[in-house]
Symmetry: C2
Subunit: 415 residues, 2 copies
């Protein structure tokens, strides 16, 4: 049984994590939040208190932290007595925070792979570049480290596991992520623009016929007729979960599909072709060295600012195909979330909500012992049922369509 | 009779000016070129010598100069003995260079209005904001200052004057600028992107019914069926020459139309709506203050680099309507230039060529006395015939279509 949580990061996802931790502080114990900019932590705490989110009386403190400084992070873990760290800071800090957890014995949870600022789209499987190098060390020291425990990666990995467990044999896993919401701005990204664009500037790696294959972004598009949000165009994209699912289910084809409207693609294409999405510095006529992508980020709306006017729904799920009892079998495991509901509950938009609720569910499962694995795990390596049970309770219910898209629709508990 | 020329600037237009001055150094005397970056001047001199452009043996020297430093510019004018300054530096330096000419008695020629970096699209008439404030002083001190003596503004002002001189009464002047060439890049501007975009981010001022009217950019488009280049879509745009022609011919409607393809408009719209064309600094997440427009400029191809692969033609002209001998009368006065021909002759693309040849023609006319006005003039206030004669000789012949677009086509000398 572990308790006391340190949240790292103070962006849109951290806001959700903070609210959800507060709503479950009877299980999670003392709460702490730390980021480079202390005032952003204070603003999150203020919002937590405004909504009266703390379930029971307890501690929730803000701290200033450079999370790339492993020693400082380890000090803060010791000082706060945190036994669980939920890292929802920039993907650039992940390996440093993981090291601090290994050093102090705290459980580690993140929601995305580690990234180095100057590298885009490294060789597959991505987890092997940083995280899995620490797998033996975690096992040896009994460190619980749950990688990629947001929605995608995260919940969709559990969806895959749940579907695979229903089958004799799995043949393909297609993860589809559609945001059918509207933020009313000319253009905005739903999370950190720097990370958002980086996802789509590199090679699209996917797993087919037991090998890595490559495509260019927006090369392969397909319309998926999804529950609630209806027919939606999505493009095969590179994504973290493909890289762990392919390792755990090498017999299955694994692909990720992200929904994009024509307007997003047009803006992205213009910015990319001009070179404005580059992470390599350019020099202005005046001699100033600038990374174009950081300027684009500075010009775009802060993703958190989209929340008050965001309307519509998201649908994210896994279409998993295989065989069961010798027959072809297909199931779509999914969740539908609503932007407005998310804002009303925790002051965030739906994309932050879907990303921020699952790591809190993971923290609850570590606190309660179900997922305190004492080693490094991707989400599909853990039992999905307690995860779904907590997610049902804290805001992201899991549903199924048996027989594939458009099939018999039911809650996962009825399957 | 004035001689010895100092060229200020070392961009694409300066390259053309340097070549054309060299080709006419028997008239112009000693030549000098100065810019913030000395090496860019050296490269231009190298190209002049490579092409064997100097008509007679003579001086052509490069200098380093901060042209915003009036005292330094005045010193260089005195040191070089230049009696004519052709200012084709950034539009931000104009007023400082003009002051240096007033101080030293040198004749001043530029090709665009002065601009302040932090102001876009000031109140009309634009020339009244800076240049015309020095009109009395120039007259008092006998300074020849020819404003806006590029192609547009410049040659098109002379076209208007020539057409007006053919008529009893002028009713409208529509200037149309079509670049039907192709540079083969995803996106590029034909001259300094900073100045290019600034032209289209402000209000479109035009003169109709004896008053200033306003439109938004790309609000009003029209297809013009022009000689050689054929039907071309152009949009009413703000442009310098509208502001002096409206003052000199207040009885005429004066409008400027710039040709744009859908691709240019799309890229421009994306960049503008995101805020990347702003001249106001933004702060990155890392705290760096950056002007987005300068980063876009740094990402785009250097306009000079387009020259080697540029193909196709430009057509720029004035459709002028009025009455003659009591009848409706219409004439289109125009030039067609060829990108490849420009490159072969002076190593530049056609847009730089059309902008760079006219100020050299003006310098020749000052050197020969025809245009040594001893006061400040916009081009339509000077006799257009000697200007056309020099332009015919040095590469930009003037043609007419009598009766308007598609009318009887002839050289201006045959009219």
């Amino acid at each position: 049984m572990k308790k006391n949580v340190l949240i790292i990061g103070a962006g849109g996802v951290a806001q959700v994590v903070a609210h959800k931790c507060a709503q479950n502080n009877d299980i999670l114990g003392d709460l702490h939040i730390a980021s480079r900019t202390r005032s952003k932590c204070d603003a999150i705490l203020e919002s937590v208190h405004e909504k009266g989110a703390m379930k029971v009386e307890g501690t929730f403190e803000a701290h200033q932290l450079d999370a790339m400084d492993t020693a400082a992070t380890a000090d803060l873990i010791r000082k706060t007595g945190a036994q669980i760290v939920i890292n929802v800071g920039s993907a650039f800090v992940n390996k440093y925070v993981l090291d601090a957890c290994i050093e102090t014995g705290a459980a580690y949870i993140d929601t995305a792979i580690h990234e180095e600022p100057d590298k885009i789209c490294e060789t597959p499987p991505w987890y092997a570049n940083y995280e899995w190098k620490k797998r033996d060390l975690c096992a040896e020291k009994g460190i619980t480290a749950i990688l990629g425990a947001g929605f995608d990666p995260g919940v969709v990995n559990a969806y895959a596991r749940f579907a695979v467990d229903m089958m004799d044999e799995v043949k393909s896993i297609d993860i589809v992520d559609i945001n059918a919401g509207s933020h009313g701005k000319y253009f905005a990204t739903n999370f950190d623009p720097e990370i958002n664009f980086r996802e789509f500037t590199g090679t699209v790696y996917y797993w087919e016929d037991r090998q890595w294959k490559e495509k260019a972004m927006f090369e392969t598009g397909k319309t998926w007729d999804l529950p609630v949000v209806g027919p939606s165009k999505a493009y095969m994209s590179g994504h973290d979960e493909v890289h762990s699912l392919a390792a755990n289910y090498p017999q299955a084809d694994v692909r990720f599909w992200m929904g994009f409207g024509d307007h997003y693609i047009n803006v992205f294409t213009v910015l990319k072709n001009i070179g404005l999405l580059s992470e390599h510095p350019v020099k202005t006529a005046e001699g100033q060295e600038v990374i174009p992508l950081k300027v684009v980020k500075a010009c775009l709306p802060d993703p958190a600012s989209l929340a008050p006017n965001y309307t519509g729904k998201t649908c994210i799920g896994d279409l998993v195909k295989g065989t069961k009892d010798g027959e072809e079998f297909e199931v779509f495991v999914y969740n539908v979330a609503d932007h407005k509901d998310a804002y009303n509950e925790v002051g965030s938009q739906g994309i932050s909500y879907t990303a921020g609720v699952p790591p809190v569910a993971a923290a609850i499962l570590i606190a309660e012992g179900d997922w305190d694995a004492k080693e490094m795990k991707n989400v599909e390596e853990l039992d999905p049922k307690p995860f779904f049970t907590v997610l049902d309770r804290i805001g992201l219910p899991t549903r199924l369509q048996i027989g594939g898209l458009g099939g018999e629709d039911k809650a996962w508990t009825e399957a």
